[in-house]
Symmetry: C2
């Protein structure tokens, strides 16, 4: 879910998000006037490619005004390893000519008072970028920027140990977007029955032998979004809200920020393995696109899809040759038109590069397993599991992936997409194996809408998908070669606190009395979702509720929400808790009309729930599983997977890319 | 925190809590009219002692009315192992004479409408209890109750495998009451600094190699309280809200419910090890008292303290000979008077049994390490870490543990109590080792009060205590012999969602504008609690915030709360979010007067926040640590610890108790 941004306001947003950090810092990763990007305290995989940018800031006005707003254009920078001799950047990285100087201006607000008064602080910048370098030797590097004759900014970078041996042939990385331990607990209660305190069946996640917690914060704020958190998981580098595959800089161009190589780029370059992404979101959304895209702005959907297929075009960069399996929603970026890059037909662009293209489940299931495959099944996000299975009437909207004015009803779920992707990737990866990311995106999207039933339905679909994938891997006899990781990118402050008697609540006339329908502690009782209801059968199998609409419903809430009405029961239509008047969010009177009004604890401009701080769980099973116990940063998930895949190399390796181009052993850069 | 109960309403509460389960079941563990207690699906450690009760119910009126309210007094019961021949209970357990028949009546409400209409359903009961039995052979047992000529209720019991070898000499079990992963994440952010996304220091918990999740629900409701959840952790048997060391029955006497043996009772009986409990709560509170007490009602504080010192008096039962170290608050149960059992002076009762008695920190620290030790430092719960360190003026209340009208200011914290307990237990346990439970109780208590700063201050105190304990164990050279487990008993639906600019909020006049001081996503910024503030120094060391009252404070919330006012900043006094009028909770106008009003999502009778559903983390370090990974029930924490201590015996063992009585090897029962 994209926080506070829309496509029409790209440049405004780019400035705003630099400008509006909580302490209203000029630039989150740079408290001084000289900025090294990647900044201090960053980690690198040996051989991982990245860009470097230096910026020198000269604020024209405000509390930091300096040198009449004239930045030092003669700055210099050095790098040294393990306390050794400092060398110039160009010399150290063997860059033949110094990059040219760039200059721009940006502005920011020092605090909310300044924002109300519309008095921005303006900063002039001088900058240079060194593109596509890598550090091969493990150790500690010190980068020093010298500017304004005598000022220094240093950054310490750590190159982690080498790990060139591939221990897992395949990796499947499931991401429950926004999924927390609290939600997993609630989903278990919905779908699995207890008898006197003992669960009679359990979640698939409950069978995983190793559990860890990862910290999700951004590089410059403690609450993340899905772009930079996905990027941390895939690159080992934290970034800024709305950025992916790059460290954010302050320049106006969201496509020139210093890039970092992603896991699928490295995996393709080094081993030539196959890779795929599956999501219930539109496929250009942050979590899938961060595997292959590089942008300061996640909302540049069109160009990000082009990068996925054709690679980064404006600078030399690692190619992936495109994903081998790519399934989700998001036809808006594929249909020729305003949503696609340069107005081109991306179904045709993918087909030209040899992809099978599926636009419904039937076609997906019969797509050949030896060809690259694209599958786009509706215009934006895929309808959620509950609407596909319990309220199919909600699919009756114009949602066809060709753009035709008709519904999309022959829809795959996460399970069908994932199992098909495994077939294709196993086939195409051959002995080089594969990497698959499979995302249950609407856990997050429905949590934002405070639609807990729909969020938990999609969490149960994820769990069901994990279970089916393990069975599939067993049948293919590759379970023992495959590392399975299930985790999330961030949380929402959700928890269940009791139950509510919907019959009693409905019979109460005033709002305070309706609250007395809620039972807490011993009055919570047991889940009625696992009890069969006469005449009701959804045919959704053992791992889902028997009854989504019992008299006693789970009472749940989040720690931060907009104004809304609550009745805790399932809604027959997807939830819209607020309506907007004059840019302010107010209670939507049509949502939960029998409920009681609760005023919010968020800025009045927020129409939805927001992300939260909590560490999220990491479940691991397979080769290297033992490395995933305990508590660590989200970037460590990347290093654990990368080391299990033997990606940490002490020299430039491009064999994989060569192989996949049918050229045998590759030489030099692709 | 005791949900909805007070001491004056003991019997009323006993009926009420049977009666008012959410689906308003007659008796949570017994959907039929014949009840086997322990009920179906229970697990047992081989050799663990327990009581059995059978109840036959005859409802007089209501939806279940049966046999004119006359229960079958001629019921019979059998037990068979692994599908073998059923034998009578008395025969199987070699009980010489059948217990006598008991009869009583209880009532319940079928739903909230019946409660409003004051139309209870009344049930007559016939019952028998078989006391102090044990199952020694691993396997599956089927217990069958035959009643009303032809009706049957069966219960399947599983006796887990034998594990007679002691792998850890000592166990230290830290419990953060109500502590969740979300709170641990928030506490880390308060006290530890990040530079560009990398923490420069971490929590002690973050160093633990193994992590698991435990499910906390009660036997008959999905939200637990601290009594039956503690009991599950210490006995391997889930129970009912407000019950500890027993399965709840429906009888009016809260002292006759079927008991289960606790880990310290077994450890003393089998190995003669030392044991202790430390808590920042009053020491008769659920979490510490569940180690040694057996009652349907946690609020029977006096008798529970007597049981701890003298053992269960009304039935034959395992003795523990009293704890070796017992430190906390709660003088009200020790001072001779209305709060103590039979009005006796329990300082004197403990002293008579050879205890040193400390009433302040100075005395505690100099107590002899070779004697049993009692330490009670104030009247009720210990003042929290924040009040002891940041707002010591809040200690200026009459709180002396002698009952004298003066403050208690020479107070130990969790760290001092725990380290002293380790010294004593190590000394007294000798080669038989020890078990220590150390509880940070006010994480829960302050979460109930929505006082997040005070809750997280006590969480940081717990983390600091864990760190210091590990150091202590290293110095004593027993770290490698000691299993350390850190976990919780249940959660609260807490999370951080952003930050709030207190200066901006204060300058806004209307309530909606105050909410616009909140920053989410990129506007959350970084923690300012780790930045030094000129002129402010608390002297609390590296593992606590530098500044508890920055301009930009953490914005946090819970999913369920009463009406209240929010400003997100630290309060100079402990928080009381509501006031009571006519049994209803309303916003306390004196709390957070500069904040904005938020209406609640709880029954209007709730004055505080409530417990939540979420699985809670389990951190493990030391012998058997590898058994604590993955996801499991809270009862499994008991089985993991018990197996690591070699408590699962295939015969009746009382050597330990004999040893500790100075009688050498014990014979038969103590």
């Amino acid at each position: 879910m994209l926080p506070r941004l829309d496509l029409a306001a790209v440049w405004l947003a780019a400035t705003a998000s630099v400008a509006s950090a909580q302490t209203y810092r000029r630039f989150g990763t740079c408290p001084s006037l000289g900025c090294v990007i990647p900044p201090d305290q960053q980690d690198f995989l040996p051989g991982q490619e990245f860009d470097i940018r230096f910026e020198v800031h000269a604020p024209k006005n405000g509390s930091e005004a300096f040198n009449n707003g004239v930045p030092d254009e003669k700055f210099t920078a050095t790098i040294s390893k393990d306390g050794g001799r400092p060398r110039s950047i160009a010399d150290f990285f063997k860059i033949r000519s110094e990059p040219s100087l760039e200059k721009w201006t940006f502005s920011w607000f020092e605090d909310l008072f300044a924002e109300d008064a519309k008095t921005p602080s303006v900063v002039n910048v001088a900058s240079k970028a060194y593109r596509r370098v890598a550090l091969y030797e493990p150790g500690t590097y010190t980068v020093t920027l010298n500017y304004f004759s005598g000022k220094k900014t240093t950054a310490e970078w750590t190159v982690r140990p080498l790990a060139t041996k591939k221990k897992a042939k395949n990796v499947i990385f499931f991401i429950g977007d926004g999924m927390t331990t609290n939600m997993i607990t609630a989903a278990r209660l919905l779908a699995h029955k207890t008898v006197n305190g003992k669960y009679q069946t359990l979640l698939s996640l409950d069978d995983f032998p190793v559990l860890g917690h990862q910290m999700t914060h951004s590089i410059d704020t403690f609450i993340t979004d899905s772009a930079n958190s996905a990027s941390a998981l895939y690159t080992g580098h934290k970034s800024t809200v709305n950025a992916l595959g790059v460290y954010a800089d302050t320049s106006p161009d969201p496509q020139d920020d210093p890039k970092v190589e992603t896991i699928v780029e490295m995996l393709f370059r080094i081993w030539g393995s196959a890779w795929g992404a599956v999501s219930t979101a539109f496929i250009a959304d942050a979590t899938p696109i961060a595997l292959s895209g590089h942008s300061r702005l996640r909302s540049q959907y069109g160009v990000l899809i082009d990068q996925t297929l054709n690679g980064v075009q404006n600078y030399s960069w690692t190619k992936t040759d495109g994903p081998d399996a790519y399934f989700g929603g998001g036809a808006d970026q594929f249909i020729a038109g305003p949503g696609s890059y340069q107005g081109k037909d991306y179904y045709a662009e993918f087909a030209k590069k040899g992809y099978s293209v599926s636009l419904n489940k039937t076609s997906l299931l019969s797509a050949p397993n030896d060809k690259k495959a694209l599958g786009i099944f509706c215009k934006n996000n895929l309808p959620v599991w509950i609407d596909r299975h319990i309220f199919p009437e909600n699919l009756e909207i114009n949602n066809d992936p060709t753009g035709a004015a008709k519904p999309a009803k022959d829809l795959p779920g996460l399970k069908e997409m994932t199992l098909k992707a495994v077939d294709i990737l196993h086939n195409r990866g051959g002995k080089e194996g594969f990497f698959l990311m499979s995302e249950a995106a609407s856990i997050d999207k429905q949590m934002h809408a405070l639609d807990y039933d729909r969020a938990l339905g999609d969490l149960l679909e994820l769990d069901d998908t994990v279970r089916a994938t393990i069975e599939k891997l067993k049948k293919l006899r590759i379970l023992d070669d495959t590392l399975i990781v299930v985790s999330a990118d961030h949380g929402h402050g959700f928890d269940v606190f009791g139950s509510s008697d919907t019959k009693y609540a409905e019979a109460q006339e005033d709002e305070r009395s309706k609250r007395n329908a809620i039972g807490v502690y011993q009055n919570s009782g047991l889940s009625q979702y696992t009890e069969p209801k006469p005449g009701v059968s959804y045919g959704t199998g053992a791992n889902f509720p028997m009854n989504w609409d019992p008299r006693y419903v789970l009472a749940a809430g989040v720690g931060a929400a907009p104004d809304r009405r609550e009745d805790f029961g399932i809604g027959a239509t997807p939830r819209a808790p607020t309506t907007s008047r004059g840019g302010e969010a107010y209670v939507n009177d049509k949502d939960r009309p029998n409920g009681f009004v609760v005023n919010g604890t968020l800025p009045t401009s927020e129409s939805q729930g927001v992300h939260s701080l909590t560490d999220v769980p990491v479940y691991a099973w397979g080769p290297c599983q033992e490395t995933f116990g305990g508590t660590y940063s989200n970037i460590d998930v990347f290093y654990k997977i990368a080391n299990c895949l033997g990606l940490a190399h002490g020299r430039n390796v491009t064999e994989g890319a060569g192989k996949r181009h049918g050229k045998g052993k590759g030489k030099g850069r692709d």
